[in-house]
């Protein structure tokens, strides 16, 4: 009995760690840059495929390719924001109109990135094997790569939080989150900061994707599912709250693992039920303002 409970809790945390990393990125993009990036999962997919290519073609260690994926996706995100969304934000009459328009533009991005990926890598499912031996944790067995993934996920979230809380740029980002116009008047270069936020969101997605590729099968159409899960997590944790995303991710992972234990096919159904009940009952989430 104890072993079963331990098993469920640890697999929940393993799942939740990955959810948390991907959700933190989306939370930053929506909470600060005000772009509900429905193409977030496509950035995750890009991270996963870059890692896969590095490993199978060049033999680069997947953990090392975190350092490659992150900056590459940061640049992609930053440039996208500067070319598309800055213009859109300035020309939109209200913040609400910008949210709607930017979300629809992200649907366009979703299709573009997904199909470019299919043209490059093909539509097949891919996987590689890295640290795929099992480790004994107090009597329950887990794959080593999943344990390492959880460790890295927690470290990434922590580093990210420290960055936001402790650095000058982090302060500018938090100021922009509260009030972009006032932050601009205080000398924050608002367009650049928002672009950095969007880039950082893409960076987190890339890191999440790299971690995902170590444990799960990947394919170019995998994005939407991860986008939806990240969305559920940020609603659970409170839109725009970074610690909320971390906690929300772990909670959702635990729920997923419990439901899977009871009735394997129902975990996604459970996620959506929780999502919709939350939207109705408490749309601000557990840590929301």
């Amino acid at each position: 009995m104890m072993i079963t409970i331990l098993n469920i809790v640890i697999s929940g945390l393993l799942l939740g760690g990955i959810y948390a990393v991907t959700a933190v990125g989306l939370s930053l993009q929506y909470g600060v840059a005000r772009v509900l990036n429905v193409g977030h999962g496509e950035f995750i997919m890009l991270g996963a495929f870059i890692t896969w290519s590095c490993f199978t073609l060049l033999g680069i260690n997947p953990l090392l390719s975190l350092v490659i994926c992150g900056p590459v996706l940061f640049i992609v995100g930053f440039v996208l924001y500067r070319t598309l969304f800055t213009r859109m934000r300035i020309s939109s009459p209200t913040p609400g109109a910008f949210e709607g328009n930017s979300m629809l533009a992200c649907f366009g991005l979703l299709f573009i990135i997904q199909n470019v990926a299919i043209l490059i890598w093909g539509a097949d499912i891919k996987r590689y094997s890295y640290l795929a031996f099992s480790v004994d944790v107090w009597g329950a067995k887990f794959a080593a790569n999943r344990l390492i993934t959880l460790g890295f996920a927690l470290v990434i979230c922590l580093v990210f939080y420290v960055f936001l809380a402790g650095t000058r740029l982090g302060k500018a980002i938090r100021a922009a989150a509260q009030d972009p116009d006032a932050a601009g008047l205080m000398g924050v270069r608002i367009n650049r900061v928002l672009a950095v936020c969007f880039g950082l969101g893409a960076l987190m997605a890339g890191l999440g994707g790299a971690l995902i590729s170590m444990c799960y099968e990947i394919q170019p159409t995998m994005g939407l599912e991860y986008t939806m899960i990240a969305l559920i997590v940020i609603v659970l944790g409170g839109l725009g709250s970074i610690p909320g995303s971390l906690i929300g991710g772990l909670i959702l992972g635990l729920i997923g693992s419990i439901v899977t234990h009871i009735e394997p096919g129902l975990s996604l159904v459970a996620y959506y039920v929780i999502f919709m009940v939350l939207l109705l009952a408490k749309p601000t989430g557990i840590l929301g303002r």
Binding site: M88, N115, L266, Y272
Partner: protein, 316 residues
């Protein structure tokens, strides 16, 4: 513009619509089967895009539940298609979608902006995964076989649904109802202070828009001989009409119609040859349309028209 000029313009538009209708209705007589099938899918997308605009256009709420309403129609048709005659099946499909929309609407239309968008999209995914789980674990069969219906029959039912939809949309727009809806979109609070029952109004229009999507789903179900939840609740059905409507232009009634017609034609033309390029082009057009064509193709055409006529006046 003088009154005489306006009536003659109205008569011209009426004549044009009648001509197009006659040409369409006679299509199975002179066109090939392939053309009829192509026209049917154009009618389908036009119906969904116009229904979407019926609610989301004036109110500004972006609903991504189209796939849920369309899918509800498809599923109704697959379940009762064998026991009831086609007209009844379509009415049932429409009613199921209508009830679903009323339920969703009364739950969610208090939600603002982005929360509403997320909820409606969550609904599609929830239905998909729930029915998938239900079929695997409870009934033990995934998917269903849909009773076959002749292609021309599907074509005519879709045409009738679209005509009904356009009439409904026209009358809603030119009634007190439509004005009230417009005022809700402009400023909800002001509308409610002026005596508009904001929530009830939104729920009813949402239901009406879903009604037509359900009818379209029920009559199009025969198009797929076999359906399963991933076919019936395809998320693309939620995204496509939004883009088509925005591409065409949301303000005038014929905007989404033109957008959907162009896109479906493009899809049929490209998808067999270069499937991935089609979706790629689709995405690029979507981004460009949102960035540079805020009023869609119609808005762009009007701007070009105004500019050229102004230049003509300047020349003389």
């Amino acid at each position: 513009m003088g009154i005489g000029k306006k009536t003659s313009k109205n008569a011209f538009v009426f004549g044009l619509v009648l001509l197009i209708l006659i040409l369409l209705a006679a299509a199975p007589l002179y066109a090939s089967l392939y053309t009829v099938i192509l026209l049917t899918s154009i009618l389908m997308y036009v119906t969904i895009a116009v229904s979407w605009t019926l609610f989301s256009g004036p109110t500004g709420y972006i609903s991504l539940a189209s796939a849920a309403f369309f899918g509800a129609g498809i599923y109704t048709s697959a379940i009762v298609g064998r026991t009831f005659p086609l007209p009844l099946v379509i009415v049932l499909g429409a009613l199921v979608s209508f009830c679903l929309a009323i339920l969703v609407g009364s739950l969610t239309l208090r939600l603002k902006g982005i929360y509403f968008v997320m909820f409606t999209f969550g609904l599609v995914e929830l239905l998909l995964h729930f029915i998938l789980w239900w079929e695997v674990n409870i009934t033990g069969t995934t998917g269903r076989v849909v009773p076959a219906v002749a292609n021309t029959t599907v074509f005519y039912t879709m045409l009738m649904i679209l005509v009904l939809l356009m009439l409904t949309a026209f009358f809603i727009r030119h009634s007190r109802f439509g004005l009230a809806l417009q005022s809700v979109g402009e400023n909800e609070e002001a509308a409610s202070h002026s005596g508009v029952h904001v929530t009830a109004l939104k729920i009813i229009i949402y239901g009406v828009s879903a009604l037509f999507m359900g009818a379209a789903g029920a009559s199009m179900a025969a198009r797929w001989t076999y359906i399963d939840p991933t076919i019936a609740f395809n998320p693309l059905i939620s995204f496509m009409p939004v883009l088509m409507a925005i591409f065409g232009g949301i303000r005038p009634l014929y905007g989404p119609l033109i957008g959907a017609a162009i896109f479906t034609y493009l899809e049929q033309f490209l998808i067999t040859r270069f499937p991935y390029y089609y979706m790629l082009i689709f995405g690029i057009i979507m981004v460009v349309a949102i960035l540079y064509m805020p009023d869609g193709l119609i808005g762009l055409a009007q701007r070009v028209w105004q500019k050229s006529s102004r230049r003509k006046h300047a020349d003389t």
